[in-house]
């Protein structure tokens, strides 16, 4: 009686009920459900009745009623599998396209997942991971809040003594790893290592191979990493051996620790020595005047990070003079170890997204899109192939298949495809992982032996099956048998528009990734071309780290020049590729009150300018003769501008350091030097000449010399003067290029992903065109018989696809412009987005698409019409 009633119960839930219900109860309970629904319709609104139906179904989902009929399903499953294999092996082309696309996507997912997991697992190797914190300090500086990690050692000592209820252990570590020369038995090694307090090895739970974590209790001792110990002592035990450091001091090896993993703080620390020993003779660990240590604490178990943070916030108050405290308003806080790697970038006192996290997000998002592209391929191909399956579906339905079984059939086909792709992708991942490690600077391995990997894989396979297979399964299974058998498609079974939409989606995404890659490369190239203010080619630099070097500068200079390969040498107190050493407190004529800018201050030997090749704008370079005994300085151009000096030469700058005030005369202005990040604005610098010996040595190798000859000759000359120190030179250009690493990584990764995206999209198109051509075979033949030329035919079919690409272009360009402009915002020194990038990306894609479809299309066009038309 209600048969023609347009209101029927919610189908999805009815299917669900039929799926889970014990088959013995199915008929009468379904009858009850329907009867109730019908009577509800008379008493209440349709919406309410439907809602009550859903509620009833959900209440039926309980142990007494659920009963999967295994026997029945197992038989069906084997049937599904058999048919799936037959279908897949019959349509080899379709299967190949899908498997290639899906496995490419799976490889991407797998690599990205491993990479993200690695990023998230930073520092988890430490036993007290949950309780280790680092002390940070926010303070006012030039009207902004700056966040600092380098603390005064007095603070560490204070936290240890006065905050015992908060910290179980506190360990101070020298702010940055330092390079020192370790010698044993006349062999020298420049090693980067740490100086920490005796509690350090306990806080960071070093895994000792030999010796104990108490190794630093004696100040004259040193712990070596396993790799360093092997390098220095080979098979013999390193314990109790005496190592010479910087050719000067003797330290006893009291322990050997397992090298720290790559995804941990302190990675690469090849030795650990005592901080008390390090400061001995020039300062102590309870001073409050110089910030040169990082402070790490291990919280007591009853302390939370936020509680402890609050507790120590004002700890510095009593130990600074009031004026300074009021000016800087230092506030301490603790950052838990879990946040160190990805959540430790602060801007004006606020936590911001770090570059690393951004990279993780960018790559993650692109990865998800690549998977969507592969799923899109699948949806496209299977809906396109619907017409070929129509007869099968019609027949199955006529013979009594319920829709649910058809859905199952199509899902199991998808699952088999996904499974095949997964197997292939495992092989591909194994093959490509060394290359990916190089690209991403990681040490990833495929965790084939871990259970969680297989769980995750199975979960992924199911998600992928549903993502790719559910739409086709539901569309195909919804065909009306009669129409399906007759081959009539219209209305909602006509999926042409959907396919067009999906193709537009695919190519929009691909185009965006391509444009993004091009802009990233543009930006890097643009910054690389930036004038650095000095000549880095042929410039080598290192820190000899031997006290013998300090008295030998002139001899060394002479000897090196003698080789004929060296133009000039110089020394400075900092490397040229950093902006270390910043000071404020300068006075000059015309300086506004309250204006106290900070400048990068460097001390250099007078040959510095000639060695690094800076460009003098005004005045003169330093000179050993002219500057002897005089307080002269050179400014960079941006310093001159900041100081507002119209006529800088001869002007006087006063500077108070350590209580003494000195007057300096400006003798020259040089072009700005890009020492910090090349993406940032230049840091104004003031350069002081020094006749003292300075730790960083710069050697300019003459342009025309052959480096393979020059370097050994220079090394020999160097070791003739200073035998204690190894000639461990580094090219300044390499150090400079390292600053592009993070951006280049984005560029390379997006580049690879762009290639994969366009590959998967074209693959899908290739599959799609084969179906389209198949359907149009007769049309093409008839047109050909009637006199259409090859060009006309080609034009007819490919026009459709060209329009789609054009449409994708319209979607992709504004989106890409928006995203990339936001990305470029972060750089002070940035390129414009060139319009020909869009042209390149668009035309390239168009060409690729036309080539792809022509591959299939032309074959069909050139077929003799007789062969295709005689079929019926």
């Amino acid at each position: 009686m209600k048969k023609q009633d347009p209101q029927h119960p919610p189908r999805l839930f009815l299917f669900f009920f039929r799926w889970f219900c014990n088959e013995h109860f199915l008929e009468d309970i379904e009858g009850d459900l329907l009867e109730r629904f019908d009577s509800d319709l008379l008493n209440m609104s349709v919406k309410r009745a439907k809602w009550r139906f859903i509620k009833n179904v959900l209440f039926l989902f309980r142990p007494g009623i659920i009963g999967f009929t295994y026997h029945h399903n197992a038989w069906l499953l084997t049937h599904h599998l058999k048919i799936s294999f037959r279908v897949l092996s019959k349509n080899k082309w379709y299967t190949a396209v899908n498997v290639t696309g899906l496995s490419t996507a799976l490889v991407v997912v797998c690599l990205i997942a491993l990479w993200v997991q690695d990023e998230l697992s930073y520092n988890r190797n430490f036993e007290h991971y949950d309780r280790i914190v680092q002390v940070y300090r926010n303070e006012n500086s030039e009207g902004q809040t700056s966040t600092n990690l380098s603390q005064m050692p007095g603070l560490g000592t204070l936290l240890k003594t006065d905050f015992e209820p908060v910290f179980e252990k506190v360990a101070m570590v020298r702010s940055r790893p330092e390079d020192h020369v370790l010698s044993y038995d006349a062999t020298h090694f420049t090693q980067s290592g740490l100086f920490m307090e005796a509690e350090g090895p306990h806080v960071f739970s070093l895994e000792m191979v030999e010796g104990s974590r108490n190794g630093l209790d004696n100040l004259q001792s040193i712990l070596l990493s396993k790799s360093t110990a092997n390098k220095m002592f080979g098979a013999t035990s390193a314990i109790n051996q005496v190592v010479q450091i910087d050719g000067q001091y003797q330290l006893t090896v009291t322990g050997v620790y397992e090298d720290l993993p790559k995804n941990s703080v302190f990675y690469g620390a090849s030795f650990i020595a005592s901080l008390e020993w390090y400061v001995k003779g020039w300062t102590t660990l309870d001073v409050w005047d110089n910030s040169f240590v990082h402070i790490y604490g291990q919280l007591r178990t009853n302390q939370s990070v936020s509680m402890a943070s609050k507790g120590i916030e004002g700890a510095m108050l009593e130990h600074m003079d009031e004026a300074q405290f009021n000016a800087r308003q230092p506030k301490l806080f603790l950052l838990p170890m879990a946040d160190w790697h990805l959540h430790s970038t602060f801007e004006n006192g606020k936590l911001v997204t770090s570059a690393k996290l951004k990279l993780v997000l960018v790559v993650g998002v692109i990865g998800v899109f690549i998977v969507l592209l592969a799923c899109t391929n699948f949806i496209n191909l299977s809906t396109a192939s619907a017409q070929n399956r129509a007869k099968e579906i019609g027949l199955r339905k006529t013979l009594g298949s319920i829709r649910f079984q058809l859905v199952n059939q199509f899902l199991s086909e998808t699952f088999i495809l996904v499974l095949l792709s997964f197997a292939l992708s495992l092989v591909l991942v194994q093959v490509s992982i060394p290359w990916f490690n190089q690209l991403s600077d990681k040490q990833l391995i495929l965790p084939l032996k871990e259970l969680y990997f297989w769980f995750a894989s199975v979960a992924l396979l199911f998600v992928l099956t549903l993502l790719a297979g559910s739409y086709p399964a539901f569309v195909l299974s919804s065909m009306r048998p009669i129409k399906a058998i007759k081959g009539q498609f219209n209305g909602k079974y006509n999926t042409v528009n959907l396919r067009k939409g999906l193709v537009v989606f695919q190519f929009s995404v691909s185009l965006m990734i391509i444009i993004g890659t091009l802009v990233v490369h543009d930006q890097i190239a643009y910054v690389k071309k930036r004038d650095m203010g000095y000549e880095k080619s042929g410039l080598i630099s290192f820190q000899p780290g031997s006290p013998a070097y300090f008295s030998q500068f002139q001899t060394l200079r002479h000897e090196l020049k003698q080789t004929g390969f060296v133009e000039e040498i110089a020394a400075a107190n900092y490397p040229i590729t950093t902006t270390r050493g910043n000071n404020s407190g300068f006075e000059w004529e015309g300086k506004p009150d309250q204006f106290d800018p900070s400048f990068n201050t460097i001390w250099v030997t007078p040959e510095y300018g000639a060695t690094i090749g800076w460009q003098v704008r005004q005045g003169r370079d330093f000179s050993r003769v002219l500057d002897k005994g005089a307080n002269n300085i050179i400014l960079t151009e941006s310093t001159r501008v900041k100081m507002g000096l119209e006529h800088p030469i001869g002007a006087v700058v006063q500077w108070k350091t350590g209580g003494e005030e000195a007057r300096y005369t400006i003798v020259g202005v040089v072009e700005d030097m890009v020492k910090g990040s090349p993406f940032d604005p230049v840091k104004p610098a003031i350069i002081f000449p020094s006749l003292r010996e300075l730790p960083w040595l710069f050697i300019k190798v003459s342009e025309q010399s052959d480096f393979t000859e020059a370097l050994p000759a220079i090394g020999a000359a160097f070791n003739k003067v200073i035998p204690e120190a190894p000639f461990d030179y580094k090219f300044v250009s390499d150090q400079y290029n390292a600053k592009f690493q993070s951006e280049e990584q984005i560029g390379q990764l997006t580049g690879v992903l762009a290639v994969l995206a366009i590959f998967i999209s074209c693959l899908g198109l290739l599959g799609l065109i084969s179906f389209v051509v198949k359907q149009k075979t007769k049309e093409i033949s008839i047109r050909k018989v009637l006199g259409a030329s090859v060009v006309q035919l080609w034009h007819m079919v490919s026009k459709e696809f060209a329009i789609l690409v054009l449409f994708s272009f319209v979607v992709a360009v504004p989106t890409a412009v928006f995203i990339l402009t936001t990305w470029l915002e972060q750089f002070a020194y940035k390129t414009e987005i060139r319009w020909n990038i869009f042209a390149q990306a668009g035309m390239g894609t168009m060409a690729l698409v036309l080539t792809t479809i022509s591959f299939h299309l032309l074959r069909s066009i050139f077929t003799n019409p007789v062969d295709t038309l005689k079929e019926e």
């Binding site: 008929e27 009858g31 329907l34 009867e35 009833n56 209440f59």
Partner: protein, 111 residues
């Protein structure tokens, strides 16, 4: 009680099946519970109880004739078995003996 134990809801359902006397199928029981007991029960709840009682042997069931209503699905009519009747009786006896043992006094104590 022992092996004849049935719960309160089970007892009500059994009684309702007995009351409906041969016309007891899922929805009819629910409707009867709604009118007579003023108690709203979901299909899920009633069906689980019915199947459980059938498993215990207190109820038996048989399909009725297919009709055009209910999407052509047949009704399943439940009827009470001898064991079901016994279980109900023992429950009733237990109750009555308790009622009989209450001294009249105890009703006066509550304010």
């Amino acid at each position: 009680m022992g092996k004849h134990y049935i719960g309160e809801f089970e007892e009500i359902v059994l009684l309702t099946v007995a009351v409906l006397n041969g016309k007891a199928y899922g929805l009819a029981i629910i409707e009867d519970l709604e009118t007579r007991q003023n108690r709203s029960v979901s299909i899920g709840a009633i069906q689980t109880v019915l199947r459980r009682m059938e498993d215990k042997g207190y109820l038996s069931s048989a399909f009725g004739e297919a009709t055009k209503a209910r999407g052509g699905k047949r009704k399943r009519f439940f009827s009470i078995t001898a064991a079901g009747y016994k279980a109900l009786e023992s429950k009733k006896d237990a109750r009555l003996s308790l009622w009989d043992s209450i001294p009249n006094l105890s009703f006066n104590t509550q304010p």
